[in-house]
Symmetry: C2
Subunit: 116 residues, 2 copies
């Protein structure tokens, strides 16, 4: 047996969790929402709608769109989005460690023979 | 903004979480799966199937069925089920406190003005 969990940021409804995080992280790495969407097996329009929904729910802009230019455009995270990615990664890491520790405390091998 | 989360016990799939917990707790209080199901707005057969699924997934019996007798029968939790209810309540309480603290650490008012 093990612990199962999901965590997310809530702002009058689910606002930011694993899916948007994974997408933003890939935009950060590839500087392109097109490439980020493709890596996640998601259409560009679905990826765009997903981030637009998150922007509305959090009340911050996530993407700076660079239109055209010699490089053919691309997408860059705003300062707020980069801050969100970093905070979310630390938040998730601490939550994971803590929940595992709490699970072990109550259901781990020293807590009784029943719950393996 | 606030943290949102779900936690459960996983044993090759979701095995025990809020729904089964609430049902077991009511069986404990009412000594009757019929009354527990009614309190949750759930049919008796659905409640029975839910607990049967949990029994299979956890590999323990949860209910002792008392058939007939002057009181007309009823349902009682096994020792294992009572132990599970108590452990789960403590596990959930600790998880809630810890997740709230971790959320505040990374997104609380001292962490920046963006995330309110």
């Amino acid at each position: 047996m093990k612990i199962g969990y999901k965590i997310w940021l809530d702002n009058h409804g689910k606002a930011f969790g694993e899916g948007p995080y994974a997408l933003l992280k890939r935009v950060l790495e590839t500087s392109s929402l097109h490439r980020a969407a493709r890596q996640m097996g998601m259409s560009y329009s679905k990826a765009w709608r997903l981030l637009h929904t998150v922007e509305k729910r959090l009340g911050v802009l996530l993407l700076e769109r660079k239109i055209g230019g010699s490089s053919g455009g691309g997408s860059k995270l705003t300062v707020e989005a980069r801050d969100l990615v970093i905070r979310y990664e630390r938040f998730r890491r601490d939550a994971e460690r803590s929940l595992e520790e709490i699970y072990q405390r109550h259901f781990g091998s020293t807590s009784g023979e029943l719950w393996k």
